[in-house]
Structure formats: C-alpha cells, structure tokens
Amino acid sequence: MDWDLLRTSFWPMLSGGLTGTIPLSLASFAIGLALALVVALMRISGKAVLSGIARFYVSVIRGTPLLVQLFVIFYGLPSIGLTIDPWPSAIIAFSLNVAGYAAEILRAAILSVPKGQWEAGHTIGMSRALTLRRVILPQAARVSVPPLSNTFISLVKDTSLASLILVTELFREAQQIAAFSQQFMMLYLEAAAIYWVFCLVLSSGQSALEKRLDRYVAH
C-alpha cells in the first residue's frame, strides 16, 4: 500500500469533488427539478399537444443512455455549429436527464394528492396556480422526497461521466493520478470511497427532510 500516494492523491480528488462533482450535481439537480415540474404539469394538463410533447420528452430521455446524451451535446453539436464548453455541456446534459426522470416522479406525486384538496382550494377562492403552489405541491413534496433523493444520488455518481468531456471533477482527478502512477486499484477505490461518503451525507439529508415533512402526518 502506497500511503504516500494515498495521502497526496486525496486532496486533488476531494477538491475535484468539492469544486466539480458537487456544484455540477447541485446545479443540474436544481435546473432539472424546475424543468421536471414544467414537464410534469404539461403531462397532466389535459391538453393533448402539451402532454404529448411531455410524454415524448420523457420517453427520449429515459430511452437513451446518459453518456450518449452527453456526447451529443459536447461532441455532436459542434458539427452543426454549436460549440459549448465542457461545464455548460455537462450541466445541460445532466439537467435534461434529471428532468426526464423527476418529471415522472412529480407527476405521480401531484396525482397522489386527493382531488378534494384542489376543491378545497377552489372553494376558498384560490386559482389553480395558487392551489398548486400552496396546497398541492407541499403535499406532493412529501411523497416525492424518497424517489427524488434516489434521482439525486444517481446524479452525483453519474457526474463521473463528465470526466469524458474534460470536466475536472473527482473521477477525472482520479484517472489522471492513476494514469501517472499506475496505481489503478488503490486510486479508483479511493475515488469510490469519496463518492460513497458524499452519498452517505445525502442520505442523512434525505432522512432529515423526510422527518421535517412528516410532522403533519399521523404516525
């Protein structure tokens, strides 16, 4: 075991995680979630065209590999004159991908709120939009935290794919040090351990959030 290498490689990897993996995950998840809400609302709008577009979008995103989506944006688009830097390319690809999965989660969560809640909003004078924001989404949020946490955790790990379009993040640091030192086993396990710790933190965040959102439900 090369303890020296373990120590000297730890900081570049961790910093790759903190300045690459984490911001990339957070930005993509936030944008993706906002987009997902739009897609979910289109899907349940009852308007054939809107829900058709939403359905098509979800189908394409879920039916194609994330790596291919990433390559289309970064390596493909330049050939039609649209060149995007690695970071924005990664954020676009991951956001679009998250939106495809989260849209289905949000759609199911919104539909799980009883119809009587919409009617109660209506009878106290609320518009559909206000009812959605004040009544439906807070209740849908409770239901969607566990599946959305799954999506988020997957995303954190999937950001390692961004190393393939030259984004400096945790895994790219690991690859570079490994290529240089030839210590593949140790360095990739080290990278795996750091991802794992990130995801453990996320899981505990999920538990705390669930607890908070459960305060108004009978136990």
């Binding site: 009587g116 109660a120 209506h122 009878t123 106290i124 009544v135 209740q139």
Partner: protein
C-alpha cells in the same frame, strides 16, 4: 336589493356525466337568511346542485344568478370571470372536510382571507381566533388536522368557510363521514349559524335536523325537484308519492 329579490336564483340547471343525466332541470330560489335543506336518495343529484352553485362543476345548461351580480348563463361560452364571480359568493363545507393537512388549524382558516382576499394577516388571525372560540376549538389553533377528531375537523371546515364571509354557505352532507357520537357537535354549530341568519343550503340525510333548522326543504329524485316547501309539509305530510316513500324509508329503515 329589493326585498323580494332572492339571494340566489338558479333556473333550468342541467348536468350530465357521460350518458347519465344527473340534473335534468333544476330550479332553486334562495332568499337571504334562509336555510334550505336539500334531501333525497343517493344519486338524486343533490350534491351536484351544490357543486354547480360553487363552480366545482360547470352546468351544461341553465342560469345561475346572485343578487347584485350578473345572471350567468351556462351551455354556451361562459367566461372565466363569470364563473369566478359565482364561486366567490359561496363557500363549501365538504363531507370529508378536505382540510389542508400540511397547515395548522389557524393556517387553514386564514389561507383564503390572506392569500385570496388579501386581508392583513393580523386581522385574519384575530377573526379566525374569534370564530374558533365560537365553535369551541380555540385551544386547537396550532394543531395539525390529523390530531383532531372528525367532528373537530368538520368544525374547522365550517370556520374556514365562514372566514371568507360568503353570502351563501353550502354544506355537502357535513355529518355523513362522522361517527354517530360526533354528529351532534357539528349540527349544533350549523344550528347556531341558522339562528344568526346565515344563508345556507344543506345537503343532508338527517331529516330530524332538517325539520328543525330548515325554512324550506327541497326533495330531489332522479335529477328533478319533486317537491319543496315548509319542512313540516314536505317531511310530515308529503304531497308526492316519491317523497312519502323516501321519508318512510329513512324513518323506518327495517
């Protein structure tokens, strides 16, 4: 408003769900301060009438007019503004309460006044507390609905509707989801509102209650009003055979 003009008049209300004609042609006149009990067998369309008045359903045809407002004619193109003008005159108390589970009792009540009517939060809270005190739930203001019994939840549901100060209160079988021992506390509140001259339409199966609080009983069956009039007349001495059978069945279920 002339004294003879009713608070609400609905004429020729029609509504179908698919091939089922739930309302064939309903006429309803409700005077200010009047308590109307809407009774009839299940499937007779009582609840649908109520929901049409509050805009939860859009009638296929007919006219609904509140005093001082436009007569909204259904069947053709009804503008959003028109249907909203109807909705804001009444407030519904639901069979299953439909309280907002993620809000406290107080938040449930002030949501409409603050978010929709744009009242000062402070004033809305003061009003809500006063109303909660009246229905005996002052100490429950910070509880979540899941901590309340059905009867308490329904009383909060009533206060939530009252807080909007609507011209017309609509009750959709307000005690049907309650355990028998909790029915009384809700009926008592409704009775007090009647004494205070709130205008109310109550869909109910509690005939004794209807006889006691209602000024008028409307008996519906098969999507039409079969007969209506003073409670003693309709419930004790019905003119129509269908009414007679219905009352008999409720009085002697076995």
């Amino acid at each position: 408003m002339s004294p003879t003009e009713p608070l609400l008049s609905a004429t020729g209300l029609q509504k179908s769900f698919g091939d089922t004609r739930v309302l064939k042609s309903i006429d309803l006149r409700i005077n200010s301060g009047q308590v109307v009990a809407l009774v009839g067998p299940s499937g007779s369309g009582k609840t649908t009438v109520l929901r049409c008045l509050n805009g939860l359903e859009t009638p296929d045809g007919g006219t609904v007019a509140f005093s001082g407002g436009p007569a909204v004619e259904f069947g053709g193109k009804v503008t959003k503004k028109e249907s909203l003008s109807l909705r804001d005159r009444s407030a519904m108390v639901f069979q299953n309460y439909n309280l907002f589970p993620h809000m406290t009792v107080l938040e449930n009540i002030i949501e409409g006044p603050v978010r929709v009517r744009k009242r000062q939060r402070k004033d809305a809270v003061a009003d809500a507390e006063r109303l909660l005190g009246r229905v005996g739930l002052a100490e429950k203001r910070d509880d979540y609905p899941f901590n309340l019994s059905g009867g308490q939840q329904q009383r909060v549901g009533i206060v939530r509707a009252l807080a909007l100060q609507p011209d017309l209160l609509l009750f959709d079988e307000p005690t049907s989801a309650l355990d028998p021992e909790l029915v009384g506390e809700v009926l008592t509140v409704i009775k007090e509102l009647a004494e205070e001259k709130w205008t109310m339409v109550i869909v109910t199966h509690e005939l004794a209650f209807a006889r006691e609080v209602a000024d008028e009983v409307v008996f519906m069956d098969g999507g039409v009003v079969v007969e209506h009039g003073h409670p003693d007349q309709v419930l004790r001495n019905p003119r129509e055979e269908r009414t007679r059978r219905f009352v008999q069945r409720l009085l002697n279920p076995f």
